[in-house]
Amino acid sequence: MSARADAVLDRLLALAAERFGKAREALAPEDDLFDALEIDSMQALSLLTALEETFEVEIPDYEVQDVRTFAELAEVVASRL
């Protein structure tokens, strides 16, 4: 994973934990984000909107359609920075 993606991952985990009321320490990069956050795909899109605001990027919905883990999501965001 690139250094950039690492940095994104760090902020992503903090943001996701806060947004969905989980402990930051309870989330690991390779966790399935839907299971770990107990969210559905519509809630996942709202997380995407929050990430876009944080990182000031625009990510088409379909680029994250087969993303399952936090690490994969961080890679997609990092590739757009």
């Binding site: 559905d40 876009e52 919905d61």
Partner: protein
């Protein structure tokens, strides 16, 4: 001030390439394409500017030997370049193969291997997904509209001529989902599209000045017509935004005064929530006022829509959607009648239609004169619809005939023969009846499948595997509309489960439900099972131990759906 040119007459053209070229020349200075992201407009092209782009892409295709009859695959999210690249491919006389960008990379690779295109036009985010695959697609020319755009031949490079095509030549190969991994590539001709355009635009004419927000995938039949060929043939403007999130779409509708949109019931549901939220924020007297005004609007628009009346009566609701909406085309799945009626009451006409990829775009559509939320409309001019072998209640399989039907499935002559009869009727596999006003009503399916409110076809057999590890005696998945054909607005997948019995004790249904829910969560939303029916008898099986689905379905039909447990 310019005088708006008339809509092009589709009967005057031999091919989509010819029609699009004429549109690009006729509507010159009209705005053809606008692209926005959440904060700003990122692209805007007039028809002439769009034509310059078309010529550059056509030059590139020609330089790589892509010509008449060659296949050009498109794997691209909705954006202005989708349309200019498609127009360039048609200019070359090529056959467009629009792939669904929402499929998995594996499925896309499989379709590419089946279609054998000479060129693939795509974008970084989607191409990157192929890198993980063991068998990556091999296509002679891969053009990335983000990375490679600047490398296009410059403007002014010698423009390749418009390649003539005949009406009966294949224009596109559009994949329709099949069961068990069969790739069903519907070969649609130029004649099918031009005839479809004629029929649809006669009922819902467009003109320059209309602004269409294109959010359904353009690879899908509905947006290909409503978000591309239709508006282009009328000099209207197509707006693209790469998201389906309602909170991001609404500001765009407001900023551009969107007049037309094609959507699926799922998005309509999101809009309804937005309307209800905006009403809930208002004081009680205002809500009561809206209810009265909604009733008044209904009265005044009973015979036909009157946008100016509705906008005046219900301004706040209309303003939330930009204040200029004329029509919402809704298809892909079945629209809830109450929802369609609510929108009409608010002065936002939802046009409900019915079609299949095998029949181009739509076969029947409502004409709003008067609005009806209970049917999927009347056949378009030139399309024949009949009920095959109706029962005493008039319900039978819906058959369609006309020039808009596909030529057949690519490389699947047997499957084509099973689908289209010798005298040209398409067996849809859907069950319905036709009323005295010639409106078609759909009630169920002869084929075991559902169409989700997001417009996706799902075959139960493809979902069963996800429940293999479940600790039950037997499990099978059916489509609700196949078992109990009583309307299709809430169709869902139903798991039929025979729980284990250990030492004669009654199995705990709660434990089975908990397991089912856990497995369900791992499936994509559209593939999730919606309800469970516990069944105590052994499933009927063949000598080779395969479940006899027909026999089981018959038994389930008799038993009814009273005992369904929602998941």
């Amino acid at each position: 001030m310019t005088v708006a040119a008339e809509m092009l007459d589709p009967t005057r053209y031999a091919s989509l390439g010819e029609l699009l070229e004429d549109a690009l020349l006729t509507f010159k200075t009209e705005t053809a394409l606008i692209e926005v992201d959440r904060k700003k407009e990122t692209r805007r092209l007039t028809y002439l500017e769009a034509r310059r782009e078309v010529l550059r892409v056509a030059r590139l295709l020609a330089d790589h030997g892509v010509g008449p009859g060659d296949r050009v695959a498109m794997l691209l999210g909705n954006q202005s370049r989708w349309l200019t690249v498609a127009a360039a491919a048609f200019r070359r006389g090529a056959v467009l193969v629009p792939l669904d960008y929402k499929l998995s990379a594996e499925e896309q690779a499989r379709l590419l291997a089946h279609a054998q295109p000479k060129a693939l036009v795509s974008e970084q985010g989607l191409l990157r997904r192929f890198e993980r695959l063991e068998a990556r697609p091999s296509v002679p020319l891969v053009f990335d509209v983000e990375e490679d755009w600047d490398a296009l031949p410059p403007e002014g490079a010698e423009a390749p001529a418009l390649e003539p095509r005949a009406r009966e030549d294949v224009a596109t190969i559009v994949y329709s989902s099949g069961t068990g991994g069969v790739a069903k590539g519907c070969m649609l001709t130029h004649d099918a599209y031009l005839e479809q355009l004629r029929g649809l635009m006669a009922r819902f004419p467009m003109r320059s000045g209309h602004r269409v927000l294109s959010i359904l995938p353009t690879n899908h039949a509905i947006d290909f017509m409503v978000g591309f060929v239709g508006p282009f043939s009328a000099g209207a403007c197509v707006i693209h935004q790469r998201t389906l999130r309602p909170e991001l779409l609404q500001p765009t509708m407001q900023a551009y005064g969107v007049t037309h949109m094609a959507l699926v019931p799922l998005i309509l549901e999101g809009f309804e929530a937005a309307i209800r939220d905006s009403l809930a924020e208002r004081p009680r007297w205002a809500r009561r006022m809206f209810s009265v005004l909604g009733g008044l609007n209904e009265l005044l628009t009973a015979a036909a829509p009157r946008p100016e009346v509705s906008r005046a009566l219900l301004a706040p609701i209309h303003e939330a959607f930009g204040g200029e909406l004329e029509v919402l085309f809704c298809g892909g799945a079945f629209v809830d009648r109450a929802r369609a009626e609510l929108f009409y009451r608010m002065g936002l006409p939802v046009v409900i239609g019915y079609g299949l990829t095998e029949a181009c775009t739509v076969a029947t559509v409502n004409d709003l004169r008067p609005f009806r939320g209970d049917s999927v409309g009347r056949p378009l001019d030139g399309v024949e619809v009949k009920i095959h072998a109706p029962g005493a209640d008039g319900v039978g399989e819906v058959w369609i005939r006309g020039r808009t039907l596909m030529k057949g499935y690519l490389d699947e002559p047997e499957l084509t023969k099973e689908t289209i009869t010798a005298d040209g009727w398409l067996r849809t596999g859907d069950l319905g009846w036709i009323d005295a006003a010639h409106h078609l009503h759909l009630v169920g399916r002869r084929k075991n499948m559902i169409v989700t409110s997001g417009g996706k076809n799902v075959y139960p057999e493809d979902v069963e595997g996800a429940f293999d590890a479940l600790d039950v005696e037997e499990l099978v998945v059916f489509a609700s509309g196949y078992l109990w054909p009583r309307g299709l607005t809430h169709e869902r997948l139903v798991a039929i489960v025979r729980p284990k019995r250990e030492n004669g004790a009654r199995p705990s249904r709660d434990a089975v439900l908990a397991q089912l829910r856990a497995h369900n969560r791992r499936l994509p939303d559209h593939k999730r099972v919606g309800a469970v029916l516990f069944w105590s008898e052994s499933f009927p099986r063949t000598a080779s131990m395969k479940i006899k689905r027909d026999a089981l379905a018959e038994a389930l039909r008799d038993a009814g759906e009273r005992e369904l447990v929602a998941l």
